[in-house]
Amino acid sequence: MDSAAVGLEKAIEAIKIGVSDPERDQLHRELDQFLGWLEPALEVDTGDLEGLVFSHEAINVLREDTPRQSDLAELQEAAPNFTGGFYLVPKIME
């Protein structure tokens, strides 16, 4: 496997998305195309320019420390598995 292919496998593992074998093969091909497509961007001479980090110029947007309780029933109804006050997941072996 070339390095992009290894990277793709790692990415799928890290982001935990199930993909079928045909989809995986397709993603391999598409990733190569995508990385080729990005080449011009890599060739831009950016020197030691500082990259932009935020799209907005807001700073120190801070909330006052006043606690508030939320409507829980509404939130918990959305959960696929909520029982006895807990969100349930398959048993984790520690």
Binding site: F54, L62, R68, Q69, F86, L88, I92, E94
Partner: protein, 481 residues
């Protein structure tokens, strides 16, 4: 030990804010699960985080209390990984630019020499929820997630690898706890999880520049456990090196029951968190003057307070040191003085009996049901000669454990001191007549004999007699015979 020990500690401390870091959910422990949750801390789609001003203020206080350089510009990153206790699939944390860096705190090393331990970084981040694994019950073969703690503000304090023994590590933690408590930013209760500690340990030959291969220790639930697990791990690594083998890079978990470290399974550290700036939050910008103000406004720390205790209350340096080692205890001491203003007596009782009971119960001073008013009430009864010191110890124990007021214990148990002369006289007369030999030796000049007689009277009254009065009565009666 033929190797040099190298230890670095990563400590997480929960801040004492009213709300969570990015939402208005209350930041306080409740027994019911998933009560302190909202769309933000449950990671609902479309809801943006809102940064807490108070958390920033407390983190800044912590950073300056640890003598850190403060970043005037910083922001939050996302540390991306999956675990059910992480609602968003990432933890919001300051990765690229920590709020504080290049700090230190001072401890005594193994030889008692003052030593600076470097603090690499102090940064803000959000806590994760909690997982429970139960086999039985409604959940069947499931693990259960409680998000009450998810989003609680933490600061992570990372020491430089400057610690050279498990004892230094423990002293570092004690000092750190004291500083955080005095700074008023955390209660640092390790047993409750408001202070958590991971350790990196490696060994190397003395004089070597590069570090040896390190292991990471987790799951230590008390300062004692930190010290013991480090000792255990140091011995284990030394054994490996002695046999010419290499230490494996591992994460180990301290097993309190088995008193040993075991290799962690389950939640493994990801090797790549793909950190990038959280675009949903605004960066933090501090003015130099704000940082200076935070330094200037730092609350009194343990050392200064001890000095003040000596000057203001005339306490011996030893007392002042013991009382101020924990902010809780020092606060307790000073609260007692508000109701009973005899510092040395209060100090004796707080340092002695009270602390002993705290240790036995594994409590901090502010968790005891025996509040400063109770202590004052007890000491006032001694002062009024209503009870003796000996009885007082008994009362304290009962009040401490039963949660009763000391006066009520005294009344219920009939422990009031007998200061009624006529009641005591008959007992004194009886003791004199029953112990002619002892009376003789007292007359013969052996003053110790008098003590024995007093003891007899005290025994007879189950300790309730006023010893001074007994003394006076005995002398008067024997002399007049």
């Amino acid at each position: 030990m033929k190797y040099e020990v190298v230890i670095g500690l990563e400590v997480h401390v929960e801040l004492l804010t009213g709300c969570k870091l990015f939402c208005a959910c209350p930041n306080r422990f409740v027994p019911e699960p998933n009560v302190n949750t909202c769309p933000v801390c449950l990671g609902f789609p479309g809801i943006l985080p809102q940064m807490s001003r108070e958390a920033l203020q407390q983190a800044l206080t912590a950073a300056v209390a640890l003598n850190c350089k403060v970043a005037l510009y910083s922001y939050f990153d996302r540390k991306n990984y999956f675990y059910p206790d992480m609602p968003k699939g990432y933890q919001i944390s300051q990765y690229h630019i920590p709020l504080g860096s290049s700090g230190y705190l001072e401890i005594e090393d193994d030889r008692g020499v003052l030593k600076k331990v470097g603090i690499g970084r102090v940064h803000m981040e959000e806590d994760a929820g909690k997982l429970l694994h139960e086999t039985a019950g409604a959940s069947g073969g499931s693990s259960m997630v409680d998000y009450n703690r998810a989003g609680v503000p933490l600061i992570e304090i990372v020491s430089e690898p400057d610690l050279r023994s498990s004892l230094e590590a423990r002293r570092y933690l004690e000092k750190l706890k004291s500083i955080m408590q005095y700074a008023g930013v955390s209660d640092c209760k390790m047993e409750e999880g408001s202070l958590r500690c991971d350790a990196n340990v490696s060994l190397r030959n003395p004089g070597e520049e590069i570090f040896g291969i390190k292991t990471e220790l987790k799951n230590m639930n008390s300062f004692r456990a930190v010290e013991k697990s480090l000792d255990h791990e140091i011995k284990r690594q030394a054994g490996i090196l002695d046999s010419g083998e290499k230490v494996a890079t591992q994460t180990l978990r301290w097993d309190e029951d088995r008193q040993e470290t075991i290799v962690m399974r389950g939640k493994l550290e990801a090797d790549d968190y793909r950190c990038f700036a959280d675009p949903e939050l605004a960066p933090i910008q501090l003015a130099e003057t704000e940082v200076e103000k935070a330094r200037h406004n730092l609350p009194e720390m343990a050392g200064e307070r001890a000095k003040r205790f000596v000057e203001e209350y005339g306490l011996p340096e030893y007392d002042a040191g013991v009382l101020t080692a924990s902010r809780c205890l020092a606060d307790y001491f000073e609260s007692c003085l508000e109701f009973f203003n005899k510092p040395k007596e209060v100090s004796n009782w707080v340092m002695g009996e009270f602390s002993a009971h705290l240790n036995n119960a594994g409590l901090e001073a502010d968790q005891a049901s025996f509040v400063p008013e109770d202590m004052a009430e007890l000491l006032q009864m001694i002062d009024n000669q209503e009870i003796s010191g000996k009885i007082a110890k008994e009362v304290l124990e009962k009040a401490f454990q039963g949660g009763k007021k000391p006066r009520r214990v005294v009344e219920e148990e009939g422990l009031l001191q007998i200061s009624d002369q006529s009641e005591l006289e008959s007992i004194v007369d009886r003791i004199i007549s029953e112990n002619p030999d002892t009376v003789e030796s007292y007359r013969g000049g052996k003053s110790k004999a008098l003590g024995h007689l007093v003891g007899q009277v005290m025994k007879e009254t189950r300790g309730k007699a006023n010893p001074q009065l007994v003394n006076e009565l005995l002398v008067k009666k024997i002399d007049s015979q």
